[in-house]
Symmetry: C2
Subunit: 442 residues, 2 copies
């Protein structure tokens, strides 16, 4: 595996750069914008995730000897372009929604300003990161709402690519999950890790009693025992007999959960294990979590559905040129005209407007140069909050958005941003975005 992120890129980014270098247009100052035309899956709101990862990858977006040699051998671009790539450092500026922010159709989630050459070649990487991470975070936020105060653990590493698994754990954590099973996500991003045991562990031993004893001896009575390898009732009795009422939790991974969970709770209480928790993990999605709201479940483990965006595995975000400077230095708005894929040209800033109760009512996109905070806003709005922050200035990444600290900050911001949305935002049925997007002249 190669350290550099530079070849995580579509070939055409480099051939366009090559052609622009030859035409003398590569140095034109440009604005690219990353946004979603719609919220796939009938989502009521989206959750931005990927920012911290993208900024880390941006720092490793370098064409080293090994990358250049391969491009040369394959004849991908001319030697002019190879020389240019050898010196590549992104030297422009990037603004964007905070990671964890709610977004809506048209929200300018990322605005990249730089020469055409230096901004266009970030397209593929930026979209890969934001499309996947935001799809996971958007699905995960629905699960967080459905779970209410009960904790959710992300356990889906085995159902997505092995490196996407790290991104998914991080996105789910930002969206309110409390932990992940993925160790690398713990190491790389400071996310709490958790785990129970698999059926194989029970099957390995000569009896369920042997297996439970081994686990309790090593992990302590506070461990979580998997009780559905053979007979659930027998396993619960056995677990309490071996660990005592201090048994941490039992995990149920199969069966008709509302019924089984009730039975297990009654049994645990009868056995005096009133503080032993029940965690369930059987192919859950947000609808299954919601359906268990009235059952005595203490926590959920979610796998496949969260790491695959629960039916919407990619966010559908695009990265479009919206303006470039002309030879006089003035910005020219540009936009594609094709009917169903029309874009709004020009530089944009964004703000969320609130009603007098502090509930979000409108996604405002201001066309023009000024920061959104300086706009007057519509007369009936009690207030508005500017949504964009500067992430990169003159090539320098703002370190506060990186690493474990940036991830924690995004998680906190997500909680606030979602709490401000109208109550119907938590609806799990397909529908329209919960806020309208309004374009205003800046």
């Amino acid at each position: 595996m190669h350290e550099s992120s530079a070849l995580l890129t579509d070939r055409y980014e480099l051939t366009m750069l090559d052609a622009a270098l030859h035409r003398g247009t590569a140095d034109r100052e440009c604005l690219f914008e990353l946004f979603a035309r719609r919220l796939s899956g009938g989502r009521r709101y989206g959750v931005v995730a990927g920012t911290g990862r993208f900024l880390e990858l941006l720092k490793h977006f370098r064409f080293g000897e090994s990358e250049l040699e391969w491009l040369r051998d394959e004849g991908v671009v001319s030697t002019t372009a190879l020389d240019w790539l050898a010196d590549y450092r992104f030297s422009g500026s990037i603004w964007g929604y905070r990671e964890g922010e709610a977004f809506f159709p048209g929200s300018p989630i990322l605005v990249v300003e730089g020469t055409f050459a230096e901004a266009v070649i970030l397209e593929t990487l930026a979209l890969s990161v934001f499309n996947y991470d935001s799809a996971v975070a958007t699905a995960a936020a629905r699960m967080t709402s459905a779970a209410g105060s009960r904790p959710l653990a992300e356990m889906g590493s085995r159902r997505t690519g092995e490196r996407s698994a790290i991104a998914a754990a991080r996105a789910a954590y930002i969206a309110g999950f409390s932990a992940t099973s993925n160790l690398e996500a713990g190491r790389s991003w400071g996310i709490p890790t958790m785990g129970t045991a698999a059926h194989s562990f029970t099957l390995l031993h000569d009896s369920e009693e042997d297996a439970f004893r081994a686990q309790i001896d090593t992990m302590g009575a506070g461990t979580t025992l998997l009780v559905d390898t053979y007979d659930i009732e027998e396993a619960v009795r056995l677990g309490v007999r071996l660990a005592g009422p201090e048994l941490g939790a039992v995990r149920i991974d199969s069966g008709d959960l509302p019924i089984v969970v009730d039975q297990v709770r009654r049994l645990l209480d009868e056995l005096g294990a009133t503080s032993t928790r029940i965690t369930v993990t059987n192919d859950l999605d947000e609808h299954a979590v919601a359906a268990l709201a009235a059952s005595p479940v203490d926590s959920y483990g979610v796998g496949t559905s969260v790491v695959t965006g629960s039916g919407s595995p990619a966010m559908g975000m695009v990265y479009k040129l919206v303006a470039h400077r002309d030879d006089q230095g003035d910005w020219i708005s540009v936009a594609k005209k094709s009917a169903e894929k029309a874009t709004v040209g020009g530089r944009k800033t964004a703000a969320r407007a609130y009603d007098r109760h502090g509930v979000a009512r409108e996604e405002r996109i201001y066309l023009g140069d000024g920061p959104a905070g300086e706009h007057e806003g519509a007369a009936d709005a009690a207030s508005e909050r500017p949504l964009m922050v500067q992430l990169v200035e003159g090539g320098l990444v703002d370190e506060q958005y990186l690493g474990a600290a940036g991830t924690r900050q995004a998680r906190e911001h997500r909680a606030q941003a979602v709490a401000e949305l109208p109550p119907r935002a938590v609806s799990l049925t397909r529908g329209d975005p919960v806020l309208p997007t309004v374009y205003l002249e800046g």
Copy 2:
């Protein structure tokens, strides 16, 4: 990013190992099996992909100082387990279906033999790789069938995690795609790369003519021009005027494709550009590709749908303990009993049985020790083909399955394996697997 693949692992793999070490059961010889209980999405057959990637990752599955230090600091496992992990090298053996092979519910896609400790900790990584890669290959194979003799290019890097994008390009190639837009997939796996140009390139320039000129001057007349930024008809006329009838291709990325493609073909022919090809790329999936069968399309670019498994983004494969040796050295079959997740215990080999016309008719899974080739088979079968090969022997990976050569071999094998299936295998409607899975005593 860390080189080692060892922490791409669920925490419970290591805590189970820890508990088994303490119990004295960690060294029990075990057989784990990777298989799918069903084909998600009503697929008629699955395509195995991921083998070559998994074997590469297996070679880097090492707990180095940095991994051990993190595990120690986090208190994930005991020092006994840390010492064991420090020396970890997989020393067991692995058999499996060839990469590119068709598979069915219950097919033993991978059989891992080793001690419990050394085999259990590969679970997460193996599943991540096979579940994602096979989901992509299975979807991609449907697109390959739908496209007939027309080439398909994989262009979905931007719609999946940035490292999954490489795996997706590789899986699609194995499933019959001819090229990818992803440069790293070209470098890492020898897959042909391709590319056209984006709308941003046209918008950057003062006119479409400027943009086309720049592209043709740099890339030659054989390039592919994107013609739907403004007006398709004008763009096609312009492209032929600038490049002449040698213009390689035009790409259409929007609009009502069957109508637009017909118009563009007529226009190109009128202009004398009879050999200029038409490539289409507008959110295609296998159904859209099939719907264009009668249109004069020359090639397809597929993005989102292929990298997200076209509605089934994870294959649903599991990794289960199926047998272990007892203290006398005899193999004991084990299986989970929960109704909807029951597994078939014991060592298995597999063969595909054919009718007398050479058409596959049955997936045979033999329970027992011998290689499938030695079984007699049912009396009415003209022949059968053993499906499993040894991938790893005593910890040593068979190099023929690695790298670009292994990938090419998998691509060839996929074509043969799919060609042998009954004709209804290419049906795009949801349905039952095209072959029944039959369990036989070995």
